[in-house]
Protein backbone atom coordinates (compact mmCIF):
# COMPACT_ATOMS: atom_id res chain seq x y z
CA UNK A 1 0.00 0.00 0.00
CA UNK A 2 1.35 3.36 -0.95
CA UNK A 3 1.64 6.02 1.68
CA UNK A 4 -0.55 8.46 -0.28
CA UNK A 5 -3.37 5.98 -0.05
CA UNK A 6 -2.99 5.76 3.71
CA UNK A 7 -3.17 9.52 3.97
CA UNK A 8 -6.53 9.48 2.27
CA UNK A 9 -7.99 7.02 4.77
CA UNK A 10 -10.00 8.26 7.71
CA UNK A 11 -8.93 7.11 11.15
CA UNK A 12 -11.81 5.07 12.50
CA UNK A 13 -10.16 3.40 15.45
CA UNK A 14 -7.17 4.31 17.55
CA UNK A 15 -5.83 4.57 21.03
CA UNK A 16 -7.86 7.11 23.00
CA UNK A 17 -5.88 10.27 23.77
CA UNK A 18 -6.73 9.95 27.45
CA UNK A 19 -5.09 6.53 27.59
CA UNK A 20 -1.35 6.46 28.26
CA UNK A 21 0.77 4.73 25.64
CA UNK A 22 2.22 2.03 27.87
CA UNK A 23 1.69 -1.69 28.42
CA UNK A 24 -0.91 -2.51 31.07
CA UNK A 25 -0.23 -5.09 33.74
CA UNK A 26 -3.63 -6.75 33.41
CA UNK A 27 -3.86 -10.46 32.62
CA UNK A 28 -5.12 -11.79 29.27
CA UNK A 29 -8.90 -11.81 29.25
CA UNK A 30 -9.24 -9.38 32.18
CA UNK A 31 -12.09 -6.92 31.96
CA UNK A 32 -10.24 -3.95 33.47
CA UNK A 33 -8.47 -3.07 30.21
CA UNK A 34 -11.79 -3.06 28.34
CA UNK A 35 -13.37 -0.72 30.87
CA UNK A 36 -10.25 1.46 30.85
CA UNK A 37 -10.55 1.82 27.09
CA UNK A 38 -14.25 2.70 27.28
CA UNK A 39 -13.62 5.27 29.97
CA UNK A 40 -10.71 6.80 28.06
CA UNK A 41 -12.80 6.99 24.88
CA UNK A 42 -15.54 8.80 26.77
CA UNK A 43 -13.09 11.19 28.39
CA UNK A 44 -11.99 12.07 24.85
CA UNK A 45 -15.49 12.28 23.43
CA UNK A 46 -16.79 14.45 26.26
CA UNK A 47 -13.59 16.54 26.24
CA UNK A 48 -13.15 16.31 29.99
CA UNK A 49 -9.57 15.04 30.23
CA UNK A 50 -8.27 18.24 31.79
CA UNK A 51 -11.01 18.21 34.40
CA UNK A 52 -10.76 14.59 35.54
CA UNK A 53 -9.34 13.32 38.81
CA UNK A 54 -9.36 9.53 38.91
CA UNK A 55 -9.44 7.87 42.32
CA UNK A 56 -7.78 4.46 42.12
CA UNK A 57 -8.52 1.77 44.67
CA UNK A 58 -6.46 -0.95 46.29
CA UNK A 59 -6.77 -4.03 44.14
CA UNK A 60 -5.83 -4.97 40.57
CA UNK A 61 -6.71 -1.51 39.29
CA UNK A 62 -4.53 0.31 41.83
CA UNK A 63 -2.23 1.29 38.98
CA UNK A 64 -5.08 2.72 36.90
CA UNK A 65 -3.66 6.21 37.43
CA UNK A 66 -0.65 5.19 35.29
CA UNK A 67 -2.93 4.32 32.38
CA UNK A 68 -4.91 7.53 32.12
CA UNK A 69 -3.48 10.91 31.23
CA UNK A 70 -5.48 12.57 33.97
CA UNK A 71 -4.73 13.58 37.55
CA UNK A 72 -4.75 10.50 39.75
CA UNK A 73 -5.27 9.87 43.42
CA UNK A 74 -4.68 6.67 45.31
CA UNK A 75 -7.12 5.71 48.03
CA UNK A 76 -6.62 3.28 50.88
CA UNK A 77 -8.54 0.02 50.55
CA UNK A 78 -12.25 0.78 50.49
CA UNK A 79 -11.87 4.51 51.01
CA UNK A 80 -12.23 5.77 47.45
CA UNK A 81 -15.70 7.27 48.03
CA UNK A 82 -14.42 9.21 51.05
CA UNK A 83 -11.33 10.43 49.17
CA UNK A 84 -13.55 11.32 46.21
CA UNK A 85 -15.84 13.22 48.58
CA UNK A 86 -12.91 15.32 49.82
CA UNK A 87 -11.74 16.02 46.26
CA UNK A 88 -15.21 16.92 45.01
CA UNK A 89 -15.97 19.23 47.92
CA UNK A 90 -12.81 21.19 47.12
CA UNK A 91 -13.29 21.09 43.35
CA UNK A 92 -17.02 20.96 42.60
CA UNK A 93 -16.25 21.88 38.97
CA UNK A 94 -13.93 18.90 38.38
CA UNK A 95 -14.84 15.37 37.36
CA UNK A 96 -14.16 12.99 40.24
CA UNK A 97 -14.27 9.35 39.21
CA UNK A 98 -13.93 6.55 41.78
CA UNK A 99 -12.94 3.24 40.18
CA UNK A 100 -13.32 0.30 42.55
CA UNK A 101 -13.34 -3.47 42.73
CA UNK A 102 -15.66 -5.76 44.65
CA UNK A 103 -13.59 -6.28 47.80
CA UNK A 104 -12.86 -2.58 47.90
CA UNK A 105 -16.38 -1.31 47.31
CA UNK A 106 -18.50 -3.96 48.96
CA UNK A 107 -16.42 -5.48 51.79
CA UNK A 108 -13.89 -3.20 53.44
CA UNK A 109 -15.46 -0.06 51.99
CA UNK A 110 -19.16 -0.83 52.40
CA UNK A 111 -19.73 2.03 54.80
CA UNK A 112 -17.99 4.57 52.55
CA UNK A 113 -19.90 3.27 49.51
CA UNK A 114 -23.32 3.46 51.13
CA UNK A 115 -22.79 6.83 52.79
CA UNK A 116 -21.26 8.62 49.80
CA UNK A 117 -24.26 7.40 47.79
CA UNK A 118 -26.66 8.40 50.53
CA UNK A 119 -25.20 11.92 50.71
CA UNK A 120 -25.66 12.13 46.99
CA UNK A 121 -22.03 13.13 46.44
CA UNK A 122 -21.81 14.46 42.89
CA UNK A 123 -19.27 11.85 41.82
CA UNK A 124 -19.12 8.94 39.37
CA UNK A 125 -18.53 5.48 40.82
CA UNK A 126 -17.41 2.68 38.54
CA UNK A 127 -17.67 -0.71 40.21
CA UNK A 128 -15.86 -3.67 38.68
CA UNK A 129 -17.46 -6.89 39.90
CA UNK A 130 -15.41 -9.95 39.00
CA UNK A 131 -16.51 -12.06 41.95
CA UNK A 132 -13.01 -12.53 43.32
CA UNK A 133 -10.00 -10.78 44.88
CA UNK A 134 -7.67 -10.82 41.89
CA UNK A 135 -4.61 -9.00 43.13
CA UNK A 136 -4.15 -10.86 46.39
CA UNK A 137 -4.44 -14.23 44.68
CA UNK A 138 -8.03 -15.25 44.21
CA UNK A 139 -9.74 -15.04 47.58
CA UNK A 140 -13.49 -15.02 48.11
CA UNK A 141 -15.14 -11.67 47.40
CA UNK A 142 -18.41 -10.35 48.79
CA UNK A 143 -19.70 -10.98 45.28
CA UNK A 144 -18.31 -14.51 44.82
CA UNK A 145 -21.16 -16.77 43.80
CA UNK A 146 -22.61 -19.54 45.92
CA UNK A 147 -20.48 -22.67 45.58
CA UNK A 148 -17.71 -20.68 43.82
CA UNK A 149 -14.33 -22.12 44.72
CA UNK A 150 -11.67 -19.58 45.70
CA UNK A 151 -8.46 -19.60 47.74
CA UNK A 152 -10.48 -18.90 50.88
CA UNK A 153 -13.56 -20.91 49.94
CA UNK A 154 -11.78 -24.06 48.73
CA UNK A 155 -14.92 -26.19 49.14
CA UNK A 156 -17.07 -23.60 47.40
CA UNK A 157 -18.79 -20.59 48.96
CA UNK A 158 -21.33 -21.90 51.46
CA UNK A 159 -24.13 -19.35 51.83
CA UNK A 160 -25.25 -21.00 55.06
CA UNK A 161 -21.85 -20.18 56.49
CA UNK A 162 -20.76 -16.90 54.89
CA UNK A 163 -23.94 -15.55 53.34
CA UNK A 164 -25.09 -14.99 49.78
CA UNK A 165 -23.18 -12.70 47.44
CA UNK A 166 -24.22 -9.05 47.76
CA UNK A 167 -25.92 -7.20 44.94
CA UNK A 168 -24.51 -3.66 45.05
CA UNK A 169 -27.02 -2.03 42.70
CA UNK A 170 -30.02 -3.37 44.57
CA UNK A 171 -28.46 -2.35 47.89
CA UNK A 172 -27.89 1.24 46.70
CA UNK A 173 -31.36 1.30 45.18
CA UNK A 174 -32.80 1.40 48.71
CA UNK A 175 -31.34 4.90 49.10
CA UNK A 176 -33.05 8.11 48.08
CA UNK A 177 -30.14 10.14 46.74
CA UNK A 178 -28.55 8.22 43.84
CA UNK A 179 -29.54 9.48 40.40
CA UNK A 180 -28.41 6.62 38.28
CA UNK A 181 -27.78 2.94 38.99
CA UNK A 182 -27.11 0.38 36.29
CA UNK A 183 -25.53 -3.06 35.99
CA UNK A 184 -23.60 -3.89 32.83
CA UNK A 185 -21.07 -6.43 31.64
CA UNK A 186 -18.05 -6.51 29.33
CA UNK A 187 -18.15 -10.22 28.42
CA UNK A 188 -19.22 -9.65 24.80
CA UNK A 189 -19.45 -6.86 22.26
CA UNK A 190 -23.14 -6.21 22.75
CA UNK A 191 -22.82 -5.86 26.51
CA UNK A 192 -19.67 -3.77 26.14
CA UNK A 193 -21.50 -1.28 23.91
CA UNK A 194 -24.24 -1.02 26.56
CA UNK A 195 -21.58 -0.54 29.21
CA UNK A 196 -20.17 2.41 27.31
CA UNK A 197 -23.65 3.93 27.11
CA UNK A 198 -24.10 3.59 30.89
CA UNK A 199 -20.64 4.98 31.58
CA UNK A 200 -21.45 7.96 29.41
CA UNK A 201 -24.61 8.61 31.39
CA UNK A 202 -22.68 8.37 34.64
CA UNK A 203 -20.17 10.95 33.42
CA UNK A 204 -22.83 13.21 31.89
CA UNK A 205 -24.63 13.33 35.23
CA UNK A 206 -21.50 14.68 36.83
CA UNK A 207 -20.85 17.16 34.02
CA UNK A 208 -24.30 18.60 34.61
CA UNK A 209 -23.68 18.51 38.38
CA UNK A 210 -26.77 16.48 39.03
CA UNK A 211 -25.61 13.95 41.59
CA UNK A 212 -24.36 10.50 42.49
CA UNK A 213 -24.18 7.96 39.68
CA UNK A 214 -23.17 4.33 39.91
CA UNK A 215 -22.40 1.70 37.33
CA UNK A 216 -21.60 -1.92 38.17
CA UNK A 217 -19.71 -3.80 35.50
CA UNK A 218 -19.55 -7.59 35.56
CA UNK A 219 -16.05 -8.38 34.50
CA UNK A 220 -13.82 -11.36 33.80
CA UNK A 221 -10.93 -12.57 35.95
CA UNK A 222 -9.72 -15.68 34.10
CA UNK A 223 -6.55 -15.86 36.20
CA UNK A 224 -8.43 -15.66 39.50
CA UNK A 225 -11.06 -18.08 38.27
CA UNK A 226 -8.51 -20.52 36.83
CA UNK A 227 -10.04 -20.57 33.35
CA UNK A 228 -9.20 -19.43 29.81
CA UNK A 229 -10.26 -15.95 28.63
CA UNK A 230 -13.10 -17.42 26.54
CA UNK A 231 -14.29 -19.57 29.45
CA UNK A 232 -14.15 -16.44 31.58
CA UNK A 233 -16.43 -14.53 29.22
CA UNK A 234 -18.77 -17.54 29.14
CA UNK A 235 -18.84 -17.76 32.94
CA UNK A 236 -20.00 -14.15 33.19
CA UNK A 237 -22.88 -15.04 30.86
CA UNK A 238 -23.80 -18.38 32.37
CA UNK A 239 -23.08 -17.96 36.08
CA UNK A 240 -22.89 -14.28 36.95
CA UNK A 241 -25.64 -12.66 34.88
CA UNK A 242 -28.37 -15.01 36.18
CA UNK A 243 -27.56 -13.86 39.74
CA UNK A 244 -26.66 -10.29 38.79
CA UNK A 245 -29.26 -9.31 36.19
CA UNK A 246 -28.14 -6.64 33.73
CA UNK A 247 -30.04 -3.46 33.16
CA UNK A 248 -30.87 -0.03 34.43
CA UNK A 249 -32.25 0.12 37.93
CA UNK A 250 -32.61 3.86 38.26
CA UNK A 251 -32.26 6.83 35.91
CA UNK A 252 -33.60 10.09 37.21
Amino acid sequence: MKSEEVMEKKLVYGRPKALADCPMHYCPGCGHSIVHKLLAQLIDELEIREKCILVAPVGCSVLAYFYFKVDGCEAAHGRAPAVATGLKRVHPDKMIIAYQGDGDLLAIGTAETVHAANRGEKISVIFINNAIYGMTGGQMAPTSLARQKTATSPYGRDPADVGQPIRACELLNTLEAPLFIERCAVNNVKNTIKTKRALKKVLMNQISGKGYSFVEILSMCPTGWGVTPQQGADWVEEAMIPYYPLGNIRDR
Binding site: I53, V55, V62, A76, R79, A82, V90, H91, E112
Partner: protein, 360 residues
Protein backbone atom coordinates in the same frame (compact mmCIF):
# COMPACT_ATOMS: atom_id res chain seq x y z
CA UNK B 1 -5.16 45.50 71.16
CA UNK B 2 -7.48 42.71 70.16
CA UNK B 3 -10.42 41.97 72.37
CA UNK B 4 -10.40 39.07 74.79
CA UNK B 5 -13.09 36.48 74.33
CA UNK B 6 -14.17 33.63 76.57
CA UNK B 7 -14.15 30.31 74.77
CA UNK B 8 -13.88 26.61 75.39
CA UNK B 9 -10.61 25.10 74.25
CA UNK B 10 -12.33 23.04 71.57
CA UNK B 11 -14.14 26.09 70.21
CA UNK B 12 -11.03 28.26 70.25
CA UNK B 13 -9.25 25.58 68.28
CA UNK B 14 -12.09 25.36 65.75
CA UNK B 15 -12.28 29.13 65.23
CA UNK B 16 -8.49 29.30 64.88
CA UNK B 17 -8.57 26.63 62.18
CA UNK B 18 -11.01 28.85 60.29
CA UNK B 19 -8.72 31.85 60.84
CA UNK B 20 -5.88 29.73 59.44
CA UNK B 21 -7.87 29.25 56.24
CA UNK B 22 -9.28 25.80 56.84
CA UNK B 23 -12.52 25.46 54.87
CA UNK B 24 -12.71 21.67 54.84
CA UNK B 25 -13.34 19.87 58.07
CA UNK B 26 -14.57 16.30 58.47
CA UNK B 27 -15.25 14.41 61.69
CA UNK B 28 -17.25 11.82 63.56
CA UNK B 29 -18.72 12.52 67.01
CA UNK B 30 -16.79 11.38 70.07
CA UNK B 31 -16.48 12.84 73.55
CA UNK B 32 -14.65 14.98 74.72
CA UNK B 33 -14.11 16.78 71.38
CA UNK B 34 -17.74 17.20 70.33
CA UNK B 35 -17.63 20.99 70.53
CA UNK B 36 -15.31 21.05 67.51
CA UNK B 37 -17.71 19.40 65.02
CA UNK B 38 -20.65 21.30 66.53
CA UNK B 39 -18.78 24.58 66.10
CA UNK B 40 -17.75 23.71 62.54
CA UNK B 41 -21.28 22.60 61.67
CA UNK B 42 -22.44 26.08 62.63
CA UNK B 43 -19.56 28.10 61.18
CA UNK B 44 -18.63 26.40 57.91
CA UNK B 45 -21.92 27.16 56.11
CA UNK B 46 -21.50 30.84 57.08
CA UNK B 47 -18.14 31.07 55.31
CA UNK B 48 -18.83 28.83 52.31
CA UNK B 49 -16.82 26.03 53.88
CA UNK B 50 -17.43 22.29 54.08
CA UNK B 51 -18.36 20.35 57.17
CA UNK B 52 -19.30 16.71 56.79
CA UNK B 53 -20.24 14.50 59.69
CA UNK B 54 -18.59 11.41 58.27
CA UNK B 55 -19.86 7.86 58.63
CA UNK B 56 -16.76 6.97 60.64
CA UNK B 57 -13.41 8.33 61.74
CA UNK B 58 -11.92 6.29 58.92
CA UNK B 59 -14.08 8.05 56.36
CA UNK B 60 -13.33 11.43 57.93
CA UNK B 61 -9.56 11.08 57.66
CA UNK B 62 -9.93 9.88 54.06
CA UNK B 63 -12.08 12.90 53.23
CA UNK B 64 -9.20 14.94 54.63
CA UNK B 65 -6.92 12.95 52.31
CA UNK B 66 -9.03 13.88 49.30
CA UNK B 67 -9.38 17.54 50.26
CA UNK B 68 -5.66 17.85 50.99
CA UNK B 69 -4.77 16.13 47.70
CA UNK B 70 -6.99 18.71 46.02
CA UNK B 71 -4.80 21.43 47.53
CA UNK B 72 -7.05 22.64 50.34
CA UNK B 73 -6.28 23.12 54.02
CA UNK B 74 -8.12 20.26 55.70
CA UNK B 75 -8.61 19.12 59.26
CA UNK B 76 -10.22 16.37 61.28
CA UNK B 77 -10.56 15.97 65.01
CA UNK B 78 -11.34 13.11 67.32
CA UNK B 79 -10.47 11.58 70.64
CA UNK B 80 -8.31 8.57 71.47
CA UNK B 81 -10.42 5.58 70.22
CA UNK B 82 -11.32 7.56 67.11
CA UNK B 83 -7.69 8.49 66.55
CA UNK B 84 -6.83 4.79 66.59
CA UNK B 85 -9.26 4.36 63.69
CA UNK B 86 -7.62 7.21 61.78
CA UNK B 87 -4.17 5.68 61.89
CA UNK B 88 -4.47 3.97 58.51
CA UNK B 89 -5.34 7.28 56.89
CA UNK B 90 -2.58 9.14 58.71
CA UNK B 91 -0.05 6.62 57.41
CA UNK B 92 -1.36 7.07 53.85
CA UNK B 93 -1.22 10.87 54.20
CA UNK B 94 2.36 10.55 55.40
CA UNK B 95 3.31 8.17 52.58
CA UNK B 96 1.75 10.44 49.98
CA UNK B 97 3.37 13.58 51.45
CA UNK B 98 0.08 15.36 52.06
CA UNK B 99 -0.37 18.13 54.62
CA UNK B 100 -3.15 17.74 57.18
CA UNK B 101 -4.04 18.80 60.69
CA UNK B 102 -5.36 16.09 63.00
CA UNK B 103 -6.62 16.99 66.46
CA UNK B 104 -6.61 14.45 69.28
CA UNK B 105 -8.46 15.59 72.39
CA UNK B 106 -7.27 12.65 74.44
CA UNK B 107 -9.45 10.64 76.79
CA UNK B 108 -8.69 7.77 79.14
CA UNK B 109 -7.84 4.34 77.74
CA UNK B 110 -7.18 1.61 76.84
CA UNK B 111 -10.33 0.49 75.07
CA UNK B 112 -13.33 2.65 75.67
CA UNK B 113 -11.61 3.94 78.83
CA UNK B 114 -13.54 6.96 79.97
CA UNK B 115 -14.49 10.36 78.63
CA UNK B 116 -12.25 12.34 80.95
CA UNK B 117 -8.91 13.85 80.00
CA UNK B 118 -5.78 11.78 79.62
CA UNK B 119 -2.33 11.88 78.04
CA UNK B 120 -2.13 8.19 77.26
CA UNK B 121 -1.71 8.62 73.50
CA UNK B 122 1.75 10.21 73.78
CA UNK B 123 3.59 7.17 72.43
CA UNK B 124 1.08 6.60 69.64
CA UNK B 125 1.34 10.23 68.56
CA UNK B 126 5.09 10.69 68.80
CA UNK B 127 5.97 7.42 67.03
CA UNK B 128 3.70 7.99 64.09
CA UNK B 129 0.89 5.76 65.25
CA UNK B 130 0.16 3.79 62.11
CA UNK B 131 2.20 1.42 59.97
CA UNK B 132 5.48 2.36 58.33
CA UNK B 133 8.48 4.57 59.04
CA UNK B 134 6.91 7.95 59.50
CA UNK B 135 6.41 10.72 62.04
CA UNK B 136 3.94 13.49 62.61
CA UNK B 137 4.76 16.85 64.11
CA UNK B 138 3.00 16.73 67.49
CA UNK B 139 2.11 19.98 69.25
CA UNK B 140 0.91 19.96 72.86
CA UNK B 141 -0.90 23.10 74.03
CA UNK B 142 -1.44 23.75 77.73
CA UNK B 143 -4.00 26.57 77.63
CA UNK B 144 -6.92 27.69 75.53
CA UNK B 145 -4.81 30.54 74.15
CA UNK B 146 -2.13 28.10 73.13
CA UNK B 147 -4.67 25.76 71.53
CA UNK B 148 -5.62 28.70 69.32
CA UNK B 149 -2.06 29.83 68.55
CA UNK B 150 -0.74 26.35 67.84
CA UNK B 151 -3.63 25.66 65.48
CA UNK B 152 -2.46 28.56 63.27
CA UNK B 153 1.08 27.19 63.49
CA UNK B 154 -0.04 23.62 62.76
CA UNK B 155 -1.49 24.53 59.35
CA UNK B 156 1.68 26.38 58.37
CA UNK B 157 3.93 23.52 59.46
CA UNK B 158 1.73 21.00 57.65
CA UNK B 159 1.95 22.95 54.39
CA UNK B 160 5.62 23.84 54.75
CA UNK B 161 6.78 20.26 55.23
CA UNK B 162 3.85 18.43 53.59
CA UNK B 163 3.38 16.49 56.79
CA UNK B 164 0.58 15.57 59.17
CA UNK B 165 0.56 17.80 62.23
CA UNK B 166 -1.24 16.54 65.29
CA UNK B 167 -2.52 18.87 67.97
CA UNK B 168 -2.43 16.72 71.08
CA UNK B 169 -4.79 18.15 73.67
CA UNK B 170 -6.88 16.39 76.27
CA UNK B 171 -10.41 16.43 77.60
CA UNK B 172 -9.62 19.05 80.21
CA UNK B 173 -8.10 21.48 77.72
CA UNK B 174 -10.93 20.87 75.31
CA UNK B 175 -13.60 21.55 77.90
CA UNK B 176 -12.25 24.42 79.97
CA UNK B 177 -13.26 27.98 79.18
CA UNK B 178 -10.57 30.65 79.35
CA UNK B 179 -10.26 34.19 78.07
CA UNK B 180 -8.11 34.41 74.99
CA UNK B 181 -7.20 36.73 72.18
CA UNK B 182 -8.08 35.05 68.91
CA UNK B 183 -4.93 34.82 66.81
CA UNK B 184 -4.37 36.53 63.49
CA UNK B 185 -3.68 34.54 60.34
CA UNK B 186 0.05 33.96 59.89
CA UNK B 187 -0.02 35.59 56.49
CA UNK B 188 2.15 32.85 55.03
CA UNK B 189 1.11 31.21 51.78
CA UNK B 190 2.25 27.97 50.24
CA UNK B 191 2.26 27.16 46.56
CA UNK B 192 0.80 23.73 45.92
CA UNK B 193 0.64 24.04 42.13
CA UNK B 194 3.41 21.49 41.57
CA UNK B 195 1.54 18.59 43.14
CA UNK B 196 -2.10 19.36 43.97
CA UNK B 197 -4.82 17.60 42.00
CA UNK B 198 -6.69 20.24 40.03
CA UNK B 199 -7.19 18.49 36.70
CA UNK B 200 -4.31 18.19 34.22
CA UNK B 201 -5.09 21.32 32.23
CA UNK B 202 -2.06 22.47 30.26
CA UNK B 203 0.31 20.33 32.30
CA UNK B 204 1.34 16.73 32.86
CA UNK B 205 -0.95 14.74 35.17
CA UNK B 206 -0.23 14.83 38.90
CA UNK B 207 -0.36 11.67 40.99
CA UNK B 208 -0.96 11.48 44.71
CA UNK B 209 0.10 8.03 45.84
CA UNK B 210 2.08 6.01 48.34
CA UNK B 211 2.44 2.72 46.45
CA UNK B 212 6.08 2.19 45.48
CA UNK B 213 6.40 -1.31 44.09
CA UNK B 214 10.09 -1.23 43.28
CA UNK B 215 12.02 -1.73 46.54
CA UNK B 216 15.37 -0.12 45.75
CA UNK B 217 14.41 2.42 43.11
CA UNK B 218 11.28 3.77 44.64
CA UNK B 219 10.42 2.84 48.20
CA UNK B 220 13.93 3.12 49.63
CA UNK B 221 14.30 6.56 48.02
CA UNK B 222 10.94 7.76 49.28
CA UNK B 223 11.80 6.66 52.79
CA UNK B 224 15.24 8.25 52.65
CA UNK B 225 13.62 11.50 51.57
CA UNK B 226 11.12 11.21 54.43
CA UNK B 227 13.89 10.64 56.95
CA UNK B 228 15.76 13.65 55.60
CA UNK B 229 12.62 15.75 56.00
CA UNK B 230 12.30 14.53 59.59
CA UNK B 231 15.95 15.43 60.24
CA UNK B 232 15.35 18.99 59.02
CA UNK B 233 12.20 19.27 61.13
CA UNK B 234 14.06 17.98 64.18
CA UNK B 235 16.69 20.63 63.62
CA UNK B 236 14.28 23.50 63.11
CA UNK B 237 10.96 22.88 64.80
CA UNK B 238 11.58 22.00 68.43
CA UNK B 239 9.38 23.96 70.79
CA UNK B 240 9.47 24.12 74.55
CA UNK B 241 9.05 26.46 77.49
CA UNK B 242 11.20 26.73 80.58
CA UNK B 243 9.85 28.40 83.67
CA UNK B 244 12.18 29.38 86.54
CA UNK B 245 14.57 26.71 85.32
CA UNK B 246 17.84 28.68 85.52
CA UNK B 247 18.45 28.40 89.24
CA UNK B 248 16.23 25.41 89.96
CA UNK B 249 17.31 22.49 92.11
CA UNK B 250 14.30 20.48 91.05
CA UNK B 251 12.95 20.50 87.53
CA UNK B 252 9.39 19.44 86.89
CA UNK B 253 8.80 18.13 83.40
CA UNK B 254 5.36 17.86 81.89
CA UNK B 255 3.29 18.74 78.84
CA UNK B 256 -0.24 19.97 78.29
CA UNK B 257 -2.58 19.86 81.26
CA UNK B 258 0.01 18.17 83.48
CA UNK B 259 2.36 21.10 82.83
CA UNK B 260 -0.28 23.60 84.01
CA UNK B 261 -0.47 21.81 87.32
CA UNK B 262 3.31 21.63 87.50
CA UNK B 263 3.50 25.38 86.99
CA UNK B 264 1.17 25.90 89.92
CA UNK B 265 3.34 23.58 92.01
CA UNK B 266 6.49 25.48 91.02
CA UNK B 267 4.94 28.78 92.13
CA UNK B 268 3.85 27.29 95.43
CA UNK B 269 7.23 25.64 96.05
CA UNK B 270 9.05 28.89 95.30
CA UNK B 271 6.90 30.63 97.90
CA UNK B 272 8.04 28.00 100.35
CA UNK B 273 11.67 28.65 99.43
CA UNK B 274 12.17 25.49 97.39
CA UNK B 275 13.91 26.18 94.10
CA UNK B 276 11.67 24.39 91.64
CA UNK B 277 11.36 25.01 87.91
CA UNK B 278 9.44 23.67 84.93
CA UNK B 279 10.49 22.32 81.55
CA UNK B 280 7.52 21.99 79.23
CA UNK B 281 7.97 20.35 75.83
CA UNK B 282 5.51 21.94 73.37
CA UNK B 283 6.58 19.93 70.36
CA UNK B 284 6.42 16.32 71.54
CA UNK B 285 7.84 15.32 68.19
CA UNK B 286 10.39 16.60 67.52
CA UNK B 287 11.18 16.24 71.21
CA UNK B 288 13.60 18.84 72.64
CA UNK B 289 16.15 16.22 73.72
CA UNK B 290 19.30 18.36 73.81
CA UNK B 291 17.53 21.29 75.41
CA UNK B 292 16.17 19.15 78.21
CA UNK B 293 19.53 17.51 78.73
CA UNK B 294 21.19 20.91 79.04
CA UNK B 295 18.54 22.05 81.52
CA UNK B 296 18.92 18.86 83.56
CA UNK B 297 22.63 19.48 84.11
CA UNK B 298 21.86 22.39 86.38
CA UNK B 299 19.46 20.51 88.67
CA UNK B 300 19.58 17.81 91.32
CA UNK B 301 16.51 15.96 90.26
CA UNK B 302 13.77 15.82 87.64
CA UNK B 303 10.16 15.02 88.46
CA UNK B 304 8.26 13.94 85.38
CA UNK B 305 4.50 14.40 85.71
CA UNK B 306 2.15 12.83 83.19
CA UNK B 307 -1.43 11.67 82.89
CA UNK B 308 -0.28 8.25 81.73
CA UNK B 309 2.08 5.48 82.86
CA UNK B 310 5.24 7.38 81.92
CA UNK B 311 5.24 7.49 78.15
CA UNK B 312 7.19 10.75 77.84
CA UNK B 313 9.46 9.44 80.58
CA UNK B 314 11.02 7.18 77.95
CA UNK B 315 11.95 10.17 75.80
CA UNK B 316 13.34 11.93 78.86
CA UNK B 317 15.55 8.95 79.70
CA UNK B 318 16.74 8.98 76.10
CA UNK B 319 17.37 12.71 76.35
CA UNK B 320 19.40 12.55 79.53
CA UNK B 321 21.26 9.31 79.16
CA UNK B 322 21.72 8.96 75.42
CA UNK B 323 25.20 9.56 74.11
CA UNK B 324 24.46 9.99 70.41
CA UNK B 325 24.06 13.75 70.41
CA UNK B 326 26.62 16.55 70.20
CA UNK B 327 26.78 16.87 73.97
CA UNK B 328 27.64 13.23 74.39
CA UNK B 329 28.19 12.80 78.12
CA UNK B 330 25.07 11.61 79.94
CA UNK B 331 23.38 13.92 82.41
CA UNK B 332 23.77 12.89 86.02
CA UNK B 333 20.36 14.17 87.11
CA UNK B 334 18.08 11.63 88.75
CA UNK B 335 14.58 11.14 87.40
CA UNK B 336 11.43 10.57 89.45
CA UNK B 337 7.99 10.00 88.00
CA UNK B 338 4.42 10.76 89.07
CA UNK B 339 1.56 9.66 86.85
CA UNK B 340 -2.22 9.41 86.90
CA UNK B 341 -4.03 7.03 84.58
CA UNK B 342 -7.67 7.07 85.59
CA UNK B 343 -8.71 10.14 83.68
CA UNK B 344 -7.93 12.51 86.53
CA UNK B 345 -5.36 15.26 86.82
CA UNK B 346 -2.27 14.97 89.03
CA UNK B 347 -2.85 16.65 92.38
CA UNK B 348 -0.82 19.79 93.00
CA UNK B 349 -0.43 18.91 96.69
CA UNK B 350 1.09 15.54 95.83
CA UNK B 351 3.59 17.15 93.47
CA UNK B 352 4.58 19.70 96.13
CA UNK B 353 4.88 17.00 98.79
CA UNK B 354 7.02 14.84 96.57
CA UNK B 355 9.43 17.68 95.74
CA UNK B 356 9.68 18.71 99.38
CA UNK B 357 10.56 15.11 100.26
CA UNK B 358 13.67 15.42 98.04
CA UNK B 359 14.96 18.09 100.42
CA UNK B 360 14.95 15.73 103.39
Amino acid sequence: MAEKVLMKGNEALAESAIIAGCRHYFAYPITPQNEIPAYMARRMPQIDGTFIQAESEIAAINMVFGASAAGARAMTSSSSPGISLKQEGISYLSGAGLPAVVVNIMRGGPGLGNISGSQADYSQATRGGGHGDYRMIVLAPSSVQEMANLTIKAFDLADEYRIVVMILGDGFLGQISEPLTLPNPSGRSFNKASWALTGAAGREPHLVMSLRLSPEEALEKVNLALQEKYRVITEREKRFETYLGDDADYLLVGFGTAARICKGAVNSLRRQGVKAGLFRPISLWPFPHEELKAASRRVKKLLVVEMNSGQMLEDIRLALYASGDADSSPSSAEIDFYGKMGGTVPQIEEIIERVISYEK
